[in-house]
Structure formats: structure tokens, C-alpha cells
Symmetry: C2
Subunit: 255 residues, 2 copies
């Protein structure tokens, strides 16, 4: 039995999320089905993080145990041949027998696309949150600085979530002007912003609530200086709305 570490990219638009659910197509379910066809028995894929319905990945990681002796390069081709085109295995490598994609993850990088302009691009509707008004980048950067470091992020998790501890360490939050180009060259690029968050772990909806709060700051509804108080309050209702899933990408998981 070998433990294999798979790196995956997917367009989450048409899925119920990473995790297998009673109803609907999940990324995990598709990956497990493709692997089971190769392995000839049930395979469990352990993901580094459970991306929500509609959230995308550029570098999700999953660990699987395979008895089949197929070479990793051939495995990538074989799994991709059985996966739908909106899910791709980018790479496979043999990992330590005790590798656990979730517990062993040291750092995760998420990115969120914001687009602005009078009209939402048809090419961005699946990949960016669109605003008609411009966002105040300086205010958003000032607010974002408050997230850095070790904090109790209870105000930034989905209401009703039960976790042992809501303390997490955010290593960096950057807010960068970026043309958000959608499969198409510059003329179609929408002026936009990219918010990148790096941390050791994230609570449910944490990145999306951080983004929703930064957008509230950038839109002038919440002063940048208030983010520290929102964190300290540990009260979900003090933070901004949960940003929609389609702008969010799990970029990478580091071990």
C-alpha cells in the first residue's frame, strides 16, 4: 500500500463543494470514483481543506492509499482520463505512509477575485465578485493589517460552527489591484482587486467573511480602524457579510 499525494485544480461552479454529500456532485466523490476505477475497490481521498460549493482550487491537495503499483505519471494521466474536464490532477507523488493531507498542512493560501466596473464581464461571472463602484484599496489594506498574527477569529466563522478552538494564525493578507482577466486577453480585463490570505488554518467561511468585511471597509460602510474591535468582539454579527463563494480560490497547501 502506497500513500499518494495528489495536487488538484478544479472549477467548483458545478459542484456541492469538496466534500461528499448525500445529494449532488462533489469534487471528492468524483476523484474517489475515478481512483476506484483504477484501484478496483473503494478509495478514500482525504482533502487538505473542504472547499465550499462554488469555491475553486488551483492547488488542493488530497492523500490517497493505493495498492495498485501504477507509476505516478501514468496515474495522473489515468485519473484525468476518468475525471470531468473541470477537475484535473496536476501532479501525484509518493508520500510518507503516515501523510495526512489535512493534519500535516502547515500553510494554506487562498485568493479572492473582486472585479469592478459598470457592467460585469460575462467571463468573470463564475470567478469574481463584481462591484459597480470602485473600492478604496488603501482603506482595505489598513483594515487587512489587523488580521495578521494569532487571533481568536470567532467573529469570522460561519454562525453555529462548533470547533475546539477558533484561534488561528494569519501570516499575511494582501490587497492588490489586479486586472482580472477571464480566459481572455487584456481588452477584456476588468479592473479589479485580488485579496490573498495565507494562514496556518482557517475556520468555516473565514476567508469569505474576511473578504466581506474588507469590502465593507472598501465601500466606506465600515471604518478600517474598526476591524480590530470586530475581532476582539468575537461576535459574528459585528463582521461583514460572507462573500459569495465563486470569487474564492484555494491556491496552494504547503507541508
Amino acid at each position: 500500500m502506497r500513500t499518494i499525494k495528489l495536487t488538484l485544480a478544479y472549477d467548483g461552479t458545478d459542484y456541492v463543494g469538496w466534500q461528499r454529500q448525500a445529494r449532488g456532485r462533489s469534487i471528492q466523490g468524483e476523484v474517489e470514483r475515478a481512483l476506484a476505477e483504477i484501484e478496483g475497490r473503494v478509495v478514500i481521498a482525504v482533502g487538505a481543506g473542504r472547499t465550499d460549493a462554488g469555491v475553486h482550487a488551483l492547488g488542493q491537495v488530497a492523500g490517497v492509499q493505493l495498492a495498485h503499483g501504477i507509476e505516478t505519471c501514468a496515474l495522473v494521466r489515468a485519473v484525468n482520463a476518468k475525471l470531468p474536464p473541470d477537475i484535473r490532477v496536476l501532479g501525484a507523488e509518493v508520500a510518507a505512509a503516515d501523510f495526512h493531507a489535512r493534519y500535516a498542512a502547515r500553510r494554506k493560501t487562498y485568493r479572492y477575485n473582486l472585479a469592478s466596473g459598470a457592467v460585469a464581464s460575462p467571463f468573470g461571472r463564475r470567478y469574481a465578485w463584481h462591484f459597480r463602484h470602485a473600492l478604496d484599496v488603501d482603506a482595505m489594506r489598513a483594515a487587512a493589517a489587523a488580521f495578521g498574527g494569532r487571533h481568536d477569529f470567532a467573529a469570522f466563522q460561519a454562525a453555529g460552527t462548533e470547533v475546539a478552538s477558533s484561534v488561528r494564525t494569519v501570516r499575511s493578507v494582501s490587497v492588490e489591484p489586479a486586472d482580472v482577466v477571464f480566459g481572455v486577453p487584456p481588452p477584456a480585463a476588468a479592473p479589479g482587486l485580488t485579496i490573498e490570505v495565507v494562514g496556518d488554518g482557517f475556520l468555516r467561511h473565514m476567508v469569505r467573511i474576511m473578504v466581506g468585511t474588507l469590502v465593507a471597509v472598501g465601500s466606506g460602510r465600515v471604518p478600517a480602524t474598526q476591524v480590530q474591535a470586530i475581532l476582539a468582539s468575537r461576535a459574528r454579527e459585528r463582521a461583514g457579510p460572507t462573500a459569495p463563494p465563486h470569487g474564492l480560490f484555494l491556491v496552494a497547501v504547503d507541508y
Copy 2:
């Protein structure tokens, strides 16, 4: 009655093309339906070019005649509110009464996305033609030069097409290395190429056959020097295959 010039962007993936068809959803049909709801009667939208099923537009132009006195800015908002999100009106302006989007077009710009890499990006599957192997850019550029100028492009039109003349003027064909980024920031960018073609008019499938031929050159199957002979032959079977529609964008129409 005013003549209005509309500029449109659309993701052509889920449409039978610009032109209304007996079956299936067309861009023209959707635009006409939205306008008819505002105008209260049937509206005909004359497109600058008939993009094929699956082809996208960043700057298609359509002319319409409206009795309704709505201001152009309000018209853009009203039409977009009635259109599906994969079709957007980018702008509207009052044109000369005799403006005809097709006949008056002086120049059209098309762009084609090619992506390369071992694994096709899930974010490119709707917007680029993917190759596992690298393409020889220098050879493609040498071949592309042969297209420039006034030629009989009979070898580069869909077989069985009837037109009065297959002579067209191609102003430029550029082949540029370009990271093809799909709604997502650089880590997800696939190394690729962009082929841009500017001309006074195009035959049916002309850009796609030009691209198919350039790809045959870039893959080493056809020598770059042969393109001139293919043009001169006026024989469709001498040219390369028709590139798939999903990599093609109508970028702009100039008047």
C-alpha cells in the same frame, strides 16, 4: 425611430452562435427578446458578424432600431437586467439612421487562445485550445506573414460555402506568447500563445482554419513555407483543420 449601436460581450459556450436558429438559444435571439420586452414589439438586431456556436465576443456590435426614447445609459442597464449573465451589453450609442453593423464594418479583430502544458487547466476548457506539446512560435510567425495582404482565401473557408468573392484583406496576423490566465491569478496561468488576426472581413471559419493551419506549422506537420502555396491552391483540403470554436474571440469591430 432611432438607430442604436450596441457593443456586446458574451461567453458563447452555451449558445448555438450569434444567429437565430430553428433550435437552440442564440445570442441574437436573447438580445432581440430583451429589447422586445423594452420596446413592446419585435426588434431585429443586425450583428457585425455571425460568430459560430461556442465562439465568444469581447466587442461584437449590433445595430437596432428603437422607437422607445430611453436614454442610452438606461438602455444598457435595462437590457442587461433582462439578459442572461453570459451576455452583457457593454455600451449603447445613437448611430446614423442608415448605420448597418455588417456592411459598415471596416475592420474586425479576432483573437485565438492556445494553451500548452501536460494537463489542461479546468479554467481554460471553455476559452482555449489545449496542446500537450509546445508549439514552434518562430515557424508560426513565419507562416502567419503569408496571410497578410489581399488574397483569395478560398482554401480558408468552410467547404461548401457560397460567396460572391473569397478575396479578403488581412491587415495583420500576430502570434504572441501569452500566459493564458483563466479568471485567476498567475499561478493558474497556462503558458500559451495568442493569435490575433485583423482584417476587413472574414469568410466562414476563415480564422479557425488559419489557426488550424498555423498550429499544423507550429507542430512541425506543415512547413511554414508551404502556406503561400496553400493559399494559391484555393483548395480547402490543402489547409489545416478547423480549430475548435471555444478558443476564438471576436475582440472588436471598427467602423
